[in-house]
Each structure stands twice: as structure tokens, then as C-alpha cells.
């Protein structure tokens, strides 16, 4: 066989990626809300960063059950951001310290609360970066999501940028109007965009003739939609994109990177398969193709 000096075939492929100036050992990370402190075993060997569940300023009890429903190739959830609130979260922050960069996902009811959280996180040295979960209702705007339009996206990102001048700031968007929202987030100072959050969905219980759940759709069912969003957005913005939606295999990770993602988050897929296996498959993919992880990004 002819030697391929520039390629990595044969040796362990290079998994490292650079995201907002950070070096991540692998492009994988958990999607916010899908990995608990109880399940961190082995996380260090799989992920390039740690992303805990979204925190809000005060504690939230979450929604009454049922909170999860199975649907074709996916699930719908309506958790309601159950979390202990920022102060308690920060007190216990050490539990998240597995030696990985820590990206803290936040949500709030108002722009000012978002900014106040960012200010608080700016001063905590354990926090590497902040991800704004903009799929939560904006209380000042009649409960529409913050990411319902570029105006509110811009407002909240700008305020958070000011409050968090020194750490990477990620804006997480959902699929609706994603291109305009992404451009707005970038314009307001976001360092990266996380795409996408769950897609609004409904589960009907035909037997009981009732609404079983209004919630968000995730899992392989939404992968083609998430890929499209990553693809369209990464072509119009300069900031890196973190892809998320339906990843359940190493090939899925490659697909997201090819479509334009710099890093990839795994959510519902981690409930049904091991992220470790996905990483192994991704390594095999890189090896077969003689590529480094970072070479994939946007290369189609």
C-alpha cells in the first residue's frame, strides 16, 4: 500500500477540534438536559466538553408527569426545566468537574435575568463557557420563545455578551426561523450557535381520547431537519456551529460535521445507545477515510 503521509489511516485518528479558541479532545458533547451527574462514568473518555442540564435563576419543580413519550424514531419530552436554581447549582458545581471544559446552559424569563446569570457565571472559574437556551418562554413578550424572532434573539444575546465579555457565549436555537435568528445571534455577539433544540410536537392518546403530551420532539426522527439547519446556517454565519438533533451513531456525528458543525451534541440517542460506541464508530469512520475530525467540518 502506498503511504499517505498527510492522512491518519493506520494510526489513531486525530479527534481534536477547536471551538471558540478552546481545544476539545473530541467533537462530542452531551446535549443540555440529557446527561445527569449520576451518569458521568466514562464521560471524560468520550466527550470534549461537559454540558449540564439548563439552569434557571431560581429552582424549578418541572412539569407534572407524564414527561416523556415514545414516538416513531424518537421521543417527545415535557420536563419543564426541573433544576435546583443557579446558586445551588454553583454550590454543587464540583460534581460536574470530570476534567472537561464546562459549558453551562442557562435559561430565564427575561433579558435582565439572562444577563444576571451570565454575570454570575462570568466570575466562576470552573465555568468555561455559557450556552443560552433560547427555547424558553420570554415572559416580557407574552410567553413567546426568546428564539421566536431575530429581535428578541438579538436583545438577549447582546445583554449576555455584555455581561460575559471574556467567556465563549453560545446561542442555542430551535428550527423555526433559524437562519434569521442565527444571523441575529451572531450580530449580537454570540461566539457559536447550537442547533437545534427539540421541535414542538404533540402526542395524542387515541385510546383515552386525550392529549398525552405537548412537548419537544428529539431523536433520529429530527436528524434530517437538524442537519438542514446546520447546513443552511453554517453557510451564512462565520461563527462555528454545534450540531445537535438525532445523533445515534458515529456516522451521524460525521454527517453533522460534514454539514457544517464544528462539534456535535448527543441527546436522546444517548438514552438508547452508548455514546462510547458512537465515538468508536466515528473513529472507525475517520480511519477508513484517512481523515482528522476537524477536516470534516463543512467539507461538503
Amino acid at each position: 500500500m502506498v503511504a499517505r503521509p498527510e492522512k491518519t489511516a493506520g494510526v489513531a485518528p486525530d479527534l481534536a477540534v477547536k471551538l471558540c479558541g478552546l481545544s476539545l479532545a473530541t467533537p462530542l458533547m452531551p446535549a443540555a438536559g440529557t446527561l445527569a451527574k449520576e451518569a458521568l462514568d466514562g464521560a471524560k473518555e468520550v466527550y470534549g466538553a461537559m454540558v449540564p442540564k439548563t439552569v434557571t435563576p431560581g429552582p424549578r419543580a418541572g412539569n407534572p408527569p407524564p414527561r416523556v413519550a415514545e414516538v416513531p424514531s424518537g421521543m417527545v419530552n415535557s420536563i419543564g426545566l426541573q433544576n435546583p436554581g443557579l446558586e445551588r447549582f454553583l454550590k454543587d458545581l464540583h460534581v460536574w468537574d470530570v476534567g472537561l471544559p464546562l459549558f453551562v446552559s442557562v435559561a430565564a424569563d427575561t433579558v435582565a435575568e439572562f444577563a444576571a446569570m451570565c454575570e454570575r457565571l462570568a466570575s466562576d472559574t470552573k465555568v468555561t463557557a455559557v450556552e443560552l437556551n433560547l427555547s424558553c418562554p420570554n415572559v416580557e413578550h407574552g410567553g413567546l420563545q426568546f428564539c421566536a424572532g431575530p429581535g428578541t434573539v438579538s436583545d438577549v444575546v447582546a445583554a449576555c455578551r455584555e455581561a460575559l465579555p471574556e467567556k465563549p457565549l453560545f446561542a442555542k436555537l430551535t428550527n423555526e426561523g433559524v437562519v434569521a435568528n442565527a444571523v441575529a445571534a451572531e450580530g449580537a455577539g454570540a461566539d457559536a450557535l447550537t442547533l437545534i433544540n427539540t421541535i414542538p410536537a404533540l402526542v395524542v392518546d387515541a385510546r383515552e381520547r386525550k392529549v398525552f403530551m405537548r412537548g419537544g420532539l428529539s431523536g433520529p426522527a429530527i436528524k434530517p431537519v437538524a442537519l438542514r439547519m446546520v447546513y443552511e446556517v453554517s453557510r451564512v454565519v462565520e461563527t462555528p456551529v454545534v450540531g445537535v438533533g438525532g445523533v445515534s451513531s458515529g456516522e451521524d456525528v460525521a454527517e453533522f460535521m460534514l454539514a457544517g458543525a464544528t462539534a456535535v451534541q448527543v441527546g436522546a440517542g444517548s438514552f438508547v445507545r452508548e455514546p462510547r460506541e458512537m465515538l468508536d464508530e466515528f473513529v472507525a469512520y475517520l480511519r477508513e477515510n484517512g481523515l482528522r475530525a476537524r477536516e470534516l467540518t463543512g467539507s461538503i
Partner: protein, 249 residues
């Protein structure tokens, strides 16, 4: 969640109940723990694995006892189906009771009481087992279920004024018991909780819908009292067995 492909040693059907035995070299289950199970690694449809109580364990052979309800359990019960299971997980029954205990069960939910009875036996704790035989049970059900629970008192609910009370009523004076362990239909758990309240500690095995089964998704919320306030616990890591008085229903 890591699932391991295992070798099915036996598969029995009784009506729409299935009893599945498989070789399990892994962690030994505690009574009241459960596993996540699916029939195929190739297909992610149905998407989620199914939570099922550890029914029995003996010499490296685990068993699951379940009812075929939807697609996931139908696939698990199919002849020749493969089986992928997680480690046994969750907080099971606290067997540190210190006296005669009662096990009460009903329907397919009797499943975890087998392992519990064995474990109590091994610890030298005496127990009385009462199993509800619902009016709707198919012919032969009582005989079939008592194969698994030879020492149990079977309690037919047929003709009783309030079937959900039938088993609890049969226990007699609750004060005789150091603890009550219940795993049955929702109404029976409810009766157990109310009847035992203030008289005897009761532990109930719950079955919330689950996705991750490792505490990550917060999907399996159960209302509980925490420091005097109502809060949601996660059944997969803080349960599925809860002390009755903790439950905020």
C-alpha cells in the same frame, strides 16, 4: 445506557404474560431493581428500551416477568427474539425491617416480589405473601402464578365489594408486620399507602414512564415530599421503590 446482548435460556407464555430467562454474568440484581430491555440492536424502532423489574435471579440466570402491552413488549415476547438488557439499576426494596413482613402484589406487578421473597428468606426474615387474582384473570392464571410463588396466599377479588382493597383487607391486623412491600395495580398501591399510613412502614414499587433510566432525562418524575415540600423525584435513580410516606399523592 449500555445494553448487553444476552443469551435467552427460556421463554414461557401464559396468555399475554411472558416469562423470559437469560444468562446474566453481570451485576446481581437487588429486589426491586429493574433492567432496560429491547429486542434488537439493529432497529431503533421502537425507540426506547422497556423498563422491567428483575423477577428472579439464580446461578447466573436472570428472569423477567412481563405483560405484552404494546410494540416493545410484543417484540420482547416473540419467539427467537434477541434480548439486549442493561445492568439492573435503581433503588430497590429496603429489606432492613427487623420482623415479620408482608408482601402484597397483584397483576403482572407481582414480578419483583419473587426476588424480594428469596432475599428475605436468605436473610432469615419471615414473610407472608398475598397475591391478588383479579376477576378478569384468564382460566388457569392462579395455578400459573403460584408456580412462581408457591407460598403465596392467593386472593381472588371476584365478588369482593372493593377489589382494590381485597388483598390489603386479607392481611388482617397490620401491626403484626414490621413492613409492607407492595407491587401491584395503581389502586392497590394507593390503598396500601393509605392503609399503612401511621401504622406500619410501607414500600411501594412504582412504574413511571422512563427514557434514560440513569437519572439524566428527568422524565420519570414522581411527586414526593422533600424537606416538607412537594418536589419531583426521579423513579429510575431514587426509586422505583419508594417509602409510602415519601410519596406526595
Amino acid at each position: 445506557m449500555k445494553l448487553h446482548e444476552v443469551e435467552v435460556a427460556a421463554r414461557e407464555r401464559f396468555g399475554n404474560h411472558a416469562l423470559l430467562r437469560y444468562r446474566w454474568p453481570g451485576r446481581i440484581p437487588e429486589p426491586g431493581q429493574f433492567v432496560m430491555a429491547r429486542a434488537s440492536a439493529q432497529s431503533l424502532d421502537p425507540f426506547l428500551p422497556r423498563p422491567l423489574f428483575a423477577h428472579d435471579y439464580e446461578d447466573g440466570v436472570m428472569s423477567l416477568l412481563f405483560e405484552v402491552r404494546g410494540r416493545g413488549t410484543a417484540l420482547l415476547a416473540e419467539e427467537d427474539a434477541r434480548l439486549l438488557v442493561s445492568n439492573p439499576v435503581g433503588q430497590g426494596f429496603d429489606t432492613d425491617s427487623g420482623g415479620l413482613v408482608a408482601l402484597v402484589g397483584g397483576g403482572v406487578w407481582v414480578s419483583p416480589l419473587k426476588l424480594l421473597g428469596k432475599s428475605l428468606g436468605r436473610a432469615g426474615i419471615a414473610c407472608d405473601t398475598f397475591l391478588e387474582i383479579p376477576a378478569t384473570a384468564p382460566q388457569g392464571y392462579a395455578a400459573w402464578i403460584s408456580e412462581s410463588y408457591p407460598d403465596a396466599t392467593l386472593v381472588p377479588t371476584e365478588g369482593t365489594p372493593d377489589p382494590s382493597r381485597a388483598v390489603l383487607d386479607r392481611l388482617g391486623a397490620l401491626e403484626r408486620y414490621a413492613a409492607i412491600y407492595a407491587s401491584g395495580p395503581a389502586e392497590m398501591l394507593d390503598v396500601a399507602k393509605r392503609t399503612a399510613a401511621g401504622m406500619v412502614p410501607a414500600q411501594l414499587a412504582l412504574r413511571e414512564r422512563m427514557a434514560c433510566a440513569n437519572g439524566s432525562c428527568y422524565g420519570c418524575a414522581v411527586p414526593v415530599w422533600k424537606s416538607g415540600e412537594r418536589a419531583y423525584a426521579r423513579a429510575c435513580v431514587e426509586g422505583p421503590v419508594f417509602p409510602a410516606e415519601v410519596l406526595a399523592w
